[in-house]
């Protein structure tokens, strides 16, 4: 009877939030990766929001107080990163580009999450012919080069022309269509798995309605992996946006600043040894994608008990594990504990997955 009143306590509410929870959980290299990723991502978001304040010029500004900037000016003086072939300030366009990228990520990811989660949940839960059709369609779309699909979509949406906000929206919606199958697949797979879990079957035996089961039991458990896909897709969204821009489906320089477009314009510069027009926008893409990917990969590792690193212990450390002859049975089933050592199956649901 001694152990009943000393359960393994839940960590505080703050520590259970996504990201912060993982930050606590991580060790060594994994923590380093996660922290580096978080720092870069935060910098990116801040730059995007504060672009009007930090950028020395506007994204479509061609002349300053001292007259026209001039084309392909090398870095230095008034233009820290030089100017482009079109006569824009490279630094300003790089900073403003963050805003475009963030906007596209947010719109694209939000739209595809809603559509993908809804379709995946319904399809996975009810099964039947609708499920089969959706799976075949989504598999077909998923296997197809996402960039090509985004091109087709942007032709459809904007006729391949890019005007003001429409260009940004077109890019975002094109990317959405590409991502819906990804969310669909993940949520559907999770739904199918959760559907056969004992707690859902138990709800069915109790006579809970389908809607109640879907909302109360399946949805919340199925969306636990979303932060992970969210980060991995964000980086892909940036790459797709840049790819579209590079192929001339991005946004005109007068509408917004877009890194891929600037790189496209820099192709010919490279042959003549002008490096600054391509290097800085390119580095911006690499840095942001890397930051977000670092966060995503760390979350992925932490969610998978096989990939997660653990702290090393000193000899003789730790309490002896409880066994189950105490009334009420063993308390070793909390997070961590001896799971996996006594050849018990590891249940990621035991507080180990992203929550």
């Amino acid at each position: 009877m001694t152990r009943i009143d000393s359960p393994p306590r839940q960590p505080s509410r703050l520590a259970r939030l996504p990201i912060i929870h993982q930050l606590h959980q991580s060790v060594g290299l994994q923590r380093g990766m996660l922290v580096a990723g978080l720092v870069i991502t935060t910098l990116f978001v801040l730059t995007a929001i504060l672009a009007p304040l930090v950028a020395p010029y506007g994204y479509s500004q061609l002349r300053g107080p001292d007259g026209v900037f001039g084309a392909q000016q090398p870095p230095g003086g008034a233009h820290l990163f030089g100017t482009t072939v079109g006569g824009y300030d490279v630094l300003s366009r790089v900073l403003w580009g963050a805003q475009t990228a963030l906007f596209v990520i947010v719109v694209a990811v939000l739209l595809s999450i809603f559509a993908g989660v809804f379709l995946g949940l319904v399809s996975g839960y009810f099964g039947g012919w609708l499920d089969r059709v959706l799976v075949v369609v989504c598999d077909a779309v998923y296997a197809f080069p996402s960039l090509l699909l985004a091109i087709v979509m942007s032709i459809v949406i904007s006729g391949g022309k890019s005007d003001l906000v429409g260009g940004v929206m077109a890019a975002a919606i094109s990317i959405t269509v590409v991502f819906i199958p990804q969310y669909f697949r993940v949520i559907r797979a999770e739904t199918v798995r959760i559907k056969s879990e004992a707690y859902v079957e138990s709800a069915r035996v109790l006579g809970s309605g389908n809607i109640r089961i879907m909302v109360r039991h399946v949805l919340r458990n199925a969306t636990r992996t979303l932060p992970l896909i969210f980060t991995l897709n964000s980086s892909e969204a940036i790459l797709t946006l840049a790819g579209l821009g590079f192929l001339g489906f991005g946004i005109e320089p007068t509408a917004a600043s877009e890194w891929g477009y600037d790189l496209n314009k820099a192709i010919s510069d490279v042959s003549s040894g002008i490096w600054w027009t391509s290097l800085f926008p390119g580095l911006a893409i690499v840095l942001v994608v890397m930051g977000i990917t670092l966060v995503g990969e760390s979350l992925n590792d932490l969610a998978d008990p096989r990939l997660r690193g653990r702290r090393a212990v000193g000899a003789n450390a730790g309490l002896v594990a409880e066994t189950s002859v105490v009334p009420g049975g063993t308390l070793a089933a909390g997070p961590g504990g001896l799971d996996g050592l006594e050849s018990a199956p590891i249940h990621p649901s035991d507080g180990e997955a992203i929550s």
Binding site: G28, V136, A242, L247, G260, I267, S271, G273, M290
Partner: protein, 367 residues
């Protein structure tokens, strides 16, 4: 295609009785059956993609107006639209289009007035060659390094390799392409800037009677080593740019899967028999990990093709991707539609082949 790909393993893990007598050998019909069913699944995939592209592209209007909209008068435009049959009901055009695709007719380009299938044949070889070299780079770099990273898991070699993989993945091919050009072609001047071969080499290869369009093979046919060297040096940078992108994905994939299988009981069992740690990674963990790896590699073909469009544009590598972006600039949507449809067929076919390879490697399917 993953849902399809997982089916081979399903009979082993499914709701089958476990106490029955040993399964009979020679239920070899399983694999043939699987191949047939998997083959039949290609058709809905192609059908869905082709239909999707058709309906999406046509919601914006007919391709002639899109391509020549500003340049012709309304009457001339209407005449050309009628001549091409674009004024008929869209459903009729759709059925006709499906029929044409089935017979290998992908339409006629508007900007150059050539059959799309001819464009595909002319430029397809270049893309195939690029994809081959890129895959070569990806395999050579990605798979061994992935195993190294798994072996040194959470140690410094693993850390640097993972950063390398993320860097590969995070760098858009056109940016790495531009950087490579800047460093190796412009500054160091050791490799050519762009193109598939220098003009003189191309001339020599043009004269060949049995030219294949695959420059490496054509160059060997000329018997002139200088031409071969020229062709190969042109391929280095594009192949590296595209290959490293894919290599990053492969590295990560191999690492994760090998680490996953290293934690299984059978690896522990082999260890308890005194098998060396190196052999555990190289044989016991790698082979079973290969099955999911191959399946995902199939999906990377899509990434590779998407990347090929960007790489070809960066390096003026005159393949399908380069042409695609040319046609896009020209707003020639018949050509775009044709190329996209062809790529859909290629993707479906290559996924089929990859799934079959994965199934053949898995003894649970073979027997």
């Amino acid at each position: 295609m993953t849902t399809v790909a997982t089916t081979p393993a399903a009979p082993a893990a499914g709701r089958a009785p476990t106490t029955t007598a040993p399964k009979k050998k020679g239920s070899g019909g399983g694999i043939i059956r699987y191949i047939v069913i998997r083959f039949l699944l290609i058709f809905p995939t192609i059908f869905i993609l082709v239909s999707m592209v058709f309906w999406l592209m046509r919601t914006t209007g007919d391709p002639i107006t899109a391509a020549l909209g500003g340049r012709l008068s309304a009457d001339q435009l209407a005449e050309r639209v009628a001549a091409a049959g674009y004024d008929r009901p869209i459903l009729v055009q759709y059925v006709e289009y499906l029929g044409q695709i089935f017979t290998g007719n992908f339409g006629t380009t508007i900007s150059t007035n050539r059959p799309v299938s001819e464009v595909l044949l002319t430029y397809g070889a270049a893309t195939a060659e690029l994809a081959f070299y890129a895959l070569l780079v990806a395999f050579i770099v990605g798979i061994p390094l992935g195993m190294v990273a798994a072996y040194w898991r959470d140690k410094s070699p693993d850390a640097s390799l993972r950063i390398f993989a993320i860097l590969c993945y995070a760098t858009p091919v056109f940016f790495s392409g531009l950087l490579f050009k800047l460093i190796f072609a412009v500054w160091l001047k050791v490799l050519p800037v762009a193109g598939r071969a220098s003009t003189s080499s191309e001339l020599q290869m043009q004269l060949l009677p049995g030219k294949t369009g695959l420059y490496t093979i054509d160059a060997i046919q000329t018997g002139n080593p200088a031409v071969l060297v020229d062709v190969l040096t042109h391929a280095v940078l594009p192949a590296l740019a595209l290959g490293l992108l894919t290599a990053g994905v492969f590295l990560r994939l191999v690492r994760t899967n090998v680490i996953g299988t290293l934690g299984t009981d059978y690896v522990d069992a082999a260890r308890s028999r005194g098998v060396s740690e190196f052999r555990l990674v190289q044989k016991h963990a790698y082979r079973p990990a290969l099955i999911p790896i191959i399946t995902v590699i199939g999906l990377q073909i899509a990434l590779l093709l998407g990347g090929a469009v960007l790489t070809e544009t960066t390096f003026e590598w005159k393949g399908l991707g380069f042409m695609l972006s040319e046609f896009l600039q020209a707003r020639d949507f018949v050509a775009v539609q044709g190329i996209v449809a062809l790529l859909a067929v290629i993707v479906a076919l290559s996924n089929f082949i990859v799934d079959i390879i994965a199934a053949l490697i898995d003894p649970r399917v073979r027997y």
